[in-house]
Protein backbone atom coordinates (compact mmCIF):
# COMPACT_ATOMS: atom_id res chain seq x y z
CA UNK A 1 0.00 0.00 0.00
CA UNK A 2 1.50 3.32 -0.96
CA UNK A 3 1.86 6.36 1.28
CA UNK A 4 -0.85 8.37 -0.50
CA UNK A 5 -3.45 5.62 -0.11
CA UNK A 6 -2.57 5.15 3.59
CA UNK A 7 -3.07 8.88 4.09
CA UNK A 8 -6.46 8.75 2.33
CA UNK A 9 -7.58 5.83 4.57
CA UNK A 10 -6.33 7.52 7.75
CA UNK A 11 -8.13 10.76 6.85
CA UNK A 12 -11.36 8.85 6.18
CA UNK A 13 -11.15 7.16 9.58
CA UNK A 14 -10.46 10.48 11.32
CA UNK A 15 -13.39 12.09 9.49
CA UNK A 16 -15.78 9.36 10.67
CA UNK A 17 -15.17 10.54 14.28
CA UNK A 18 -15.99 14.13 13.42
CA UNK A 19 -19.16 15.87 12.30
CA UNK A 20 -22.37 17.44 13.57
CA UNK A 21 -23.93 14.05 14.22
CA UNK A 22 -21.54 13.35 17.10
CA UNK A 23 -22.22 16.80 18.46
CA UNK A 24 -25.93 16.01 18.44
CA UNK A 25 -25.54 12.54 19.99
CA UNK A 26 -22.74 13.15 22.45
CA UNK A 27 -22.60 16.92 22.70
CA UNK A 28 -24.10 17.10 26.16
CA UNK A 29 -24.41 14.88 29.23
CA UNK A 30 -28.26 14.55 28.98
CA UNK A 31 -28.09 13.44 25.31
CA UNK A 32 -25.49 10.77 26.20
CA UNK A 33 -27.67 9.53 29.06
CA UNK A 34 -30.69 9.48 26.73
CA UNK A 35 -28.86 7.18 24.29
CA UNK A 36 -27.63 4.88 27.05
CA UNK A 37 -31.16 4.62 28.46
CA UNK A 38 -32.81 3.88 25.09
CA UNK A 39 -33.05 0.14 25.85
CA UNK A 40 -34.47 0.73 29.30
CA UNK A 41 -37.02 3.28 28.11
CA UNK A 42 -38.34 1.59 24.97
CA UNK A 43 -37.50 -2.11 25.44
CA UNK A 44 -37.82 -2.37 29.22
CA UNK A 45 -34.36 -3.97 29.51
CA UNK A 46 -32.09 -3.91 32.52
CA UNK A 47 -29.74 -0.97 33.05
CA UNK A 48 -26.69 -3.02 32.01
CA UNK A 49 -28.32 -4.23 28.78
CA UNK A 50 -29.55 -0.71 28.04
CA UNK A 51 -25.99 0.63 28.28
CA UNK A 52 -24.76 -2.19 25.98
CA UNK A 53 -27.52 -1.34 23.46
CA UNK A 54 -26.66 2.39 23.63
CA UNK A 55 -22.93 1.78 23.10
CA UNK A 56 -23.72 -0.68 20.29
CA UNK A 57 -25.86 1.92 18.51
CA UNK A 58 -23.06 4.48 18.75
CA UNK A 59 -20.53 1.88 17.51
CA UNK A 60 -22.79 0.94 14.60
CA UNK A 61 -23.18 4.59 13.58
CA UNK A 62 -19.41 4.98 13.77
CA UNK A 63 -18.82 1.89 11.61
CA UNK A 64 -21.39 2.92 8.98
CA UNK A 65 -19.83 6.37 8.72
CA UNK A 66 -16.33 4.92 8.58
CA UNK A 67 -17.20 2.52 5.73
CA UNK A 68 -19.10 5.24 3.87
CA UNK A 69 -16.14 7.64 4.09
CA UNK A 70 -13.63 4.91 3.22
CA UNK A 71 -15.65 3.83 0.18
CA UNK A 72 -16.09 7.39 -1.05
CA UNK A 73 -12.49 8.54 -0.53
CA UNK A 74 -10.71 5.39 -1.68
CA UNK A 75 -12.84 5.10 -4.85
CA UNK A 76 -12.22 8.80 -5.56
CA UNK A 77 -8.50 8.17 -5.08
CA UNK A 78 -8.51 5.29 -7.60
CA UNK A 79 -10.57 7.24 -10.13
CA UNK A 80 -8.05 10.06 -9.82
CA UNK A 81 -5.09 7.73 -10.10
CA UNK A 82 -6.40 5.74 -13.01
CA UNK A 83 -8.11 8.47 -15.00
CA UNK A 84 -7.75 12.06 -13.95
CA UNK A 85 -4.02 11.93 -13.24
CA UNK A 86 -3.44 11.17 -16.92
CA UNK A 87 -4.67 14.67 -17.64
CA UNK A 88 -2.23 15.93 -15.02
CA UNK A 89 0.54 14.18 -16.96
CA UNK A 90 -0.67 16.00 -20.06
CA UNK A 91 0.07 19.33 -18.37
CA UNK A 92 3.61 18.18 -17.58
CA UNK A 93 4.32 16.82 -21.08
CA UNK A 94 2.83 19.78 -22.90
CA UNK A 95 4.53 22.29 -20.62
CA UNK A 96 7.85 21.12 -22.12
CA UNK A 97 6.53 21.40 -25.67
CA UNK A 98 5.11 24.86 -25.11
CA UNK A 99 8.34 26.07 -23.50
CA UNK A 100 10.23 24.93 -26.61
CA UNK A 101 7.69 26.67 -28.84
CA UNK A 102 7.86 29.89 -26.79
CA UNK A 103 11.65 29.80 -26.93
CA UNK A 104 11.49 29.48 -30.71
CA UNK A 105 9.13 32.44 -30.93
CA UNK A 106 11.15 34.62 -28.56
CA UNK A 107 14.53 33.93 -30.12
CA UNK A 108 15.39 36.16 -33.05
CA UNK A 109 16.78 34.50 -36.17
CA UNK A 110 15.04 31.19 -35.57
CA UNK A 111 16.27 28.23 -37.53
CA UNK A 112 14.16 25.65 -39.34
CA UNK A 113 15.77 22.91 -37.22
CA UNK A 114 14.32 24.51 -34.08
CA UNK A 115 10.97 24.95 -35.82
CA UNK A 116 10.76 21.28 -36.83
CA UNK A 117 12.09 20.16 -33.47
CA UNK A 118 9.28 22.09 -31.73
CA UNK A 119 6.62 20.58 -33.98
CA UNK A 120 7.92 17.03 -33.61
CA UNK A 121 8.17 17.56 -29.87
CA UNK A 122 4.49 18.54 -29.79
CA UNK A 123 3.60 15.37 -31.73
CA UNK A 124 5.75 13.16 -29.48
CA UNK A 125 4.35 14.61 -26.26
CA UNK A 126 0.76 14.55 -27.51
CA UNK A 127 1.25 10.90 -28.39
CA UNK A 128 2.59 10.17 -24.90
CA UNK A 129 -0.37 12.05 -23.41
CA UNK A 130 -3.01 10.25 -25.45
CA UNK A 131 -1.32 6.85 -25.03
CA UNK A 132 -1.73 7.37 -21.29
CA UNK A 133 -5.30 8.65 -21.49
CA UNK A 134 -6.59 5.99 -23.89
CA UNK A 135 -4.35 3.16 -22.62
CA UNK A 136 -3.87 2.26 -26.26
CA UNK A 137 -1.56 3.17 -29.11
CA UNK A 138 -2.10 6.62 -30.61
CA UNK A 139 -0.45 8.51 -33.42
CA UNK A 140 -0.25 12.27 -33.90
CA UNK A 141 0.42 14.14 -37.12
CA UNK A 142 0.38 17.69 -38.44
CA UNK A 143 -1.00 17.98 -41.95
CA UNK A 144 -0.63 21.06 -44.11
CA UNK A 145 -2.06 21.96 -47.50
CA UNK A 146 0.45 22.12 -50.33
CA UNK A 147 0.61 24.38 -53.30
CA UNK A 148 -0.32 22.69 -56.56
CA UNK A 149 -1.52 23.70 -60.01
CA UNK A 150 -5.16 23.00 -59.20
CA UNK A 151 -5.91 24.32 -55.75
CA UNK A 152 -9.57 24.19 -54.74
CA UNK A 153 -11.71 21.91 -52.58
CA UNK A 154 -9.40 19.18 -53.86
CA UNK A 155 -6.45 20.89 -52.18
CA UNK A 156 -3.93 18.28 -51.22
CA UNK A 157 -2.76 17.73 -47.66
CA UNK A 158 0.66 16.39 -46.70
CA UNK A 159 2.26 15.42 -43.45
CA UNK A 160 4.56 18.13 -42.16
CA UNK A 161 5.52 15.86 -39.29
CA UNK A 162 4.39 12.96 -37.15
CA UNK A 163 5.27 11.46 -33.78
CA UNK A 164 8.68 9.74 -34.01
CA UNK A 165 7.30 6.28 -33.22
CA UNK A 166 4.97 6.08 -36.18
CA UNK A 167 6.64 8.17 -38.87
CA UNK A 168 8.37 5.17 -40.47
CA UNK A 169 5.38 2.85 -40.12
CA UNK A 170 2.71 5.24 -41.39
CA UNK A 171 4.53 7.57 -43.76
CA UNK A 172 5.28 4.92 -46.35
CA UNK A 173 6.05 5.66 -50.00
CA UNK A 174 2.54 4.55 -50.90
CA UNK A 175 1.09 6.95 -48.31
CA UNK A 176 3.24 9.80 -49.61
CA UNK A 177 2.19 9.15 -53.20
CA UNK A 178 -1.53 9.19 -52.37
CA UNK A 179 -3.36 12.45 -52.97
CA UNK A 180 -4.86 13.31 -49.57
CA UNK A 181 -7.48 15.87 -50.56
CA UNK A 182 -9.72 17.87 -48.23
CA UNK A 183 -12.90 16.56 -49.84
CA UNK A 184 -11.55 13.02 -49.94
CA UNK A 185 -11.32 12.98 -46.14
CA UNK A 186 -14.45 13.28 -44.05
CA UNK A 187 -12.43 14.57 -41.09
CA UNK A 188 -10.94 17.57 -42.93
CA UNK A 189 -14.18 18.33 -44.72
CA UNK A 190 -16.29 18.28 -41.55
CA UNK A 191 -13.75 20.23 -39.49
CA UNK A 192 -13.52 22.90 -42.19
CA UNK A 193 -17.31 23.03 -42.39
CA UNK A 194 -17.51 23.50 -38.63
CA UNK A 195 -15.17 26.50 -38.85
CA UNK A 196 -17.12 27.96 -41.77
CA UNK A 197 -20.40 27.59 -39.91
CA UNK A 198 -18.90 29.39 -36.93
CA UNK A 199 -19.70 26.40 -34.73
CA UNK A 200 -18.35 26.33 -31.23
CA UNK A 201 -17.36 22.75 -31.95
CA UNK A 202 -14.61 22.99 -34.52
CA UNK A 203 -13.20 19.50 -34.33
CA UNK A 204 -14.06 16.25 -36.01
CA UNK A 205 -14.35 13.31 -33.63
CA UNK A 206 -15.09 9.75 -34.67
CA UNK A 207 -14.88 7.04 -32.04
CA UNK A 208 -15.98 4.19 -34.25
CA UNK A 209 -14.56 4.59 -37.73
CA UNK A 210 -15.29 1.12 -39.10
CA UNK A 211 -18.96 1.44 -38.17
CA UNK A 212 -19.40 4.92 -39.68
CA UNK A 213 -21.30 5.04 -42.94
CA UNK A 214 -20.13 7.48 -45.64
CA UNK A 215 -16.77 7.83 -43.91
CA UNK A 216 -14.07 8.65 -46.40
CA UNK A 217 -10.34 8.56 -45.83
CA UNK A 218 -7.67 8.63 -48.53
CA UNK A 219 -5.26 6.73 -46.26
CA UNK A 220 -7.30 3.61 -47.04
CA UNK A 221 -5.99 3.82 -50.62
CA UNK A 222 -2.42 3.55 -49.43
CA UNK A 223 -2.89 0.63 -47.04
CA UNK A 224 -2.38 -2.92 -48.34
CA UNK A 225 -5.76 -4.28 -47.24
CA UNK A 226 -7.73 -1.07 -47.78
CA UNK A 227 -8.32 -0.79 -44.03
CA UNK A 228 -7.22 1.84 -41.57
CA UNK A 229 -4.96 0.96 -38.68
CA UNK A 230 -7.05 3.05 -36.29
CA UNK A 231 -10.58 3.02 -34.97
CA UNK A 232 -10.88 6.48 -33.40
CA UNK A 233 -9.74 9.85 -34.65
CA UNK A 234 -9.78 13.42 -33.46
CA UNK A 235 -8.96 16.18 -35.93
CA UNK A 236 -8.65 19.86 -35.11
CA UNK A 237 -8.04 22.65 -37.64
CA UNK A 238 -4.87 24.65 -36.99
CA UNK A 239 -6.56 27.97 -36.36
CA UNK A 240 -6.09 30.61 -33.65
CA UNK A 241 -8.30 30.17 -30.59
CA UNK A 242 -9.08 33.88 -30.64
CA UNK A 243 -9.39 35.42 -34.06
CA UNK A 244 -8.91 39.10 -34.86
CA UNK A 245 -11.28 38.83 -37.79
CA UNK A 246 -14.08 36.37 -37.02
CA UNK A 247 -15.41 36.77 -40.59
CA UNK A 248 -12.22 35.42 -42.14
CA UNK A 249 -10.40 32.69 -40.28
CA UNK A 250 -6.93 31.63 -41.29
CA UNK A 251 -6.37 27.87 -41.29
CA UNK A 252 -2.86 26.50 -41.60
CA UNK A 253 -3.63 22.80 -41.63
CA UNK A 254 -4.94 20.07 -39.35
CA UNK A 255 -3.73 18.44 -36.18
CA UNK A 256 -4.72 14.77 -36.26
CA UNK A 257 -4.73 12.22 -33.43
CA UNK A 258 -5.82 8.65 -34.01
CA UNK A 259 -6.03 5.57 -31.83
CA UNK A 260 -6.32 1.84 -32.49
CA UNK A 261 -9.03 1.54 -29.81
CA UNK A 262 -12.75 2.20 -30.25
CA UNK A 263 -14.28 5.02 -28.15
CA UNK A 264 -10.83 6.31 -27.30
CA UNK A 265 -11.45 10.05 -27.09
CA UNK A 266 -13.85 12.14 -25.06
CA UNK A 267 -15.13 15.47 -26.26
CA UNK A 268 -14.33 17.37 -23.08
CA UNK A 269 -10.72 17.16 -21.88
CA UNK A 270 -9.23 15.54 -24.99
CA UNK A 271 -10.59 18.22 -27.28
CA UNK A 272 -9.40 20.97 -24.93
CA UNK A 273 -5.87 19.54 -25.05
CA UNK A 274 -5.73 19.31 -28.82
CA UNK A 275 -7.36 22.76 -29.17
CA UNK A 276 -4.64 24.37 -27.08
CA UNK A 277 -1.89 22.58 -28.98
CA UNK A 278 -3.41 23.54 -32.36
CA UNK A 279 -3.33 27.17 -31.22
CA UNK A 280 0.35 26.80 -30.25
CA UNK A 281 1.19 25.19 -33.61
CA UNK A 282 -0.66 28.00 -35.38
CA UNK A 283 1.64 30.49 -33.63
CA UNK A 284 4.73 28.53 -34.65
CA UNK A 285 3.67 28.37 -38.28
CA UNK A 286 2.78 32.08 -38.27
CA UNK A 287 6.10 33.00 -36.70
CA UNK A 288 8.03 31.07 -39.33
CA UNK A 289 5.97 32.59 -42.16
CA UNK A 290 6.59 36.07 -40.72
CA UNK A 291 10.30 35.35 -40.44
CA UNK A 292 10.39 34.10 -44.03
CA UNK A 293 8.62 37.22 -45.29
CA UNK A 294 11.02 39.49 -43.39
CA UNK A 295 14.04 37.50 -44.52
Amino acid sequence: MNKELRKVIWNSIKRSFKGKLWGFLLGSFPSLIAILLLGKTFLNTTMENSIIIGVSILGLILLIRMFAFLFRDVSAYYVYRKHESKYGDAIIYLKDSFSKAHHYRKTPGHQDEEFMSSLIDFCANLKKTFDGITKASCSVSIKVPIQSADVDEKASMENLCRDPEFYKIRDTDSYKQTNHTIIGNTAFQKALNNVLKGNKVKYYLNNSISKTRDYENTSKDSSKDGKLSYESELVYPIIPMINDDPKNILCKGFLCVDCDKENAFNDHYDVAIIEGVADGIYDLLSERAKNQNNG
Binding site: F115, I120, I146, Q147, Y167, Q189, K197, I249, C251
Partner: protein, 93 residues
Protein backbone atom coordinates in the same frame (compact mmCIF):
# COMPACT_ATOMS: atom_id res chain seq x y z
CA UNK B 1 -24.60 13.99 -59.28
CA UNK B 2 -23.98 17.33 -61.00
CA UNK B 3 -21.26 19.71 -59.86
CA UNK B 4 -23.69 22.01 -58.03
CA UNK B 5 -25.19 19.16 -56.00
CA UNK B 6 -21.75 17.76 -55.20
CA UNK B 7 -20.64 21.16 -53.89
CA UNK B 8 -23.79 21.49 -51.82
CA UNK B 9 -22.98 18.13 -50.26
CA UNK B 10 -19.47 19.28 -49.38
CA UNK B 11 -20.92 22.46 -47.89
CA UNK B 12 -18.36 24.94 -49.17
CA UNK B 13 -16.69 26.19 -52.33
CA UNK B 14 -13.72 28.31 -53.38
CA UNK B 15 -14.32 32.04 -53.11
CA UNK B 16 -10.93 33.04 -54.43
CA UNK B 17 -7.41 31.70 -54.65
CA UNK B 18 -3.91 32.94 -55.31
CA UNK B 19 -0.36 31.60 -55.11
CA UNK B 20 -0.34 31.44 -51.32
CA UNK B 21 -3.83 30.59 -50.23
CA UNK B 22 -7.35 29.56 -51.07
CA UNK B 23 -10.42 31.08 -49.44
CA UNK B 24 -13.52 28.97 -48.94
CA UNK B 25 -17.04 30.21 -48.36
CA UNK B 26 -20.09 28.36 -47.14
CA UNK B 27 -22.84 27.20 -49.47
CA UNK B 28 -26.38 27.65 -48.21
CA UNK B 29 -29.63 26.38 -49.71
CA UNK B 30 -31.77 28.71 -51.90
CA UNK B 31 -34.94 28.61 -49.73
CA UNK B 32 -37.17 31.02 -51.73
CA UNK B 33 -34.24 33.30 -52.48
CA UNK B 34 -32.75 34.00 -55.85
CA UNK B 35 -29.11 33.20 -56.55
CA UNK B 36 -28.03 36.81 -56.11
CA UNK B 37 -29.58 36.99 -52.64
CA UNK B 38 -28.04 33.68 -51.66
CA UNK B 39 -24.62 34.86 -52.82
CA UNK B 40 -24.97 38.06 -50.77
CA UNK B 41 -25.83 36.01 -47.66
CA UNK B 42 -22.97 33.60 -48.32
CA UNK B 43 -20.46 36.43 -48.67
CA UNK B 44 -21.53 37.81 -45.34
CA UNK B 45 -20.85 34.52 -43.56
CA UNK B 46 -17.54 33.39 -42.05
CA UNK B 47 -14.89 32.49 -44.61
CA UNK B 48 -11.83 30.31 -44.13
CA UNK B 49 -8.53 31.03 -45.80
CA UNK B 50 -6.25 28.03 -46.05
CA UNK B 51 -2.60 29.01 -46.37
CA UNK B 52 -0.56 26.46 -48.20
CA UNK B 53 2.99 25.34 -48.10
CA UNK B 54 5.31 25.57 -51.01
CA UNK B 55 6.20 22.01 -52.09
CA UNK B 56 9.97 22.64 -52.04
CA UNK B 57 9.73 24.23 -48.60
CA UNK B 58 7.79 21.25 -47.30
CA UNK B 59 10.38 18.80 -48.66
CA UNK B 60 13.14 20.90 -47.06
CA UNK B 61 11.36 20.76 -43.67
CA UNK B 62 10.61 17.04 -44.00
CA UNK B 63 14.32 16.40 -44.59
CA UNK B 64 15.15 18.30 -41.41
CA UNK B 65 12.45 16.22 -39.70
CA UNK B 66 14.11 12.97 -40.83
CA UNK B 67 17.28 13.97 -38.95
CA UNK B 68 15.28 14.79 -35.81
CA UNK B 69 13.44 11.44 -35.95
CA UNK B 70 16.79 9.65 -36.11
CA UNK B 71 17.98 11.54 -33.03
CA UNK B 72 14.76 10.51 -31.23
CA UNK B 73 15.27 6.87 -32.22
CA UNK B 74 18.84 6.95 -30.97
CA UNK B 75 17.80 8.56 -27.69
CA UNK B 76 15.10 5.97 -27.04
CA UNK B 77 17.13 2.91 -27.92
CA UNK B 78 17.87 0.69 -24.92
CA UNK B 79 21.40 -0.34 -23.96
CA UNK B 80 21.57 -3.71 -25.83
CA UNK B 81 20.25 -1.98 -28.98
CA UNK B 82 22.87 0.77 -28.61
CA UNK B 83 25.70 -1.75 -28.10
CA UNK B 84 24.50 -3.87 -31.03
CA UNK B 85 24.18 -0.76 -33.23
CA UNK B 86 27.70 0.39 -32.34
CA UNK B 87 29.17 -3.07 -33.11
CA UNK B 88 27.32 -3.21 -36.46
CA UNK B 89 28.53 0.30 -37.31
CA UNK B 90 32.12 -0.66 -36.36
CA UNK B 91 32.05 -3.79 -38.55
CA UNK B 92 30.24 -2.36 -41.53
CA UNK B 93 31.49 1.22 -41.77
Amino acid sequence: MDKQKARAKIGFEVLHKDNNSVTFKRLIPLRNRNEKEVRAVELDLTKVTVKYFNKEDLIHLQKIGDGIYKAYEEKHKNLPQKVFGTVVDFVTK
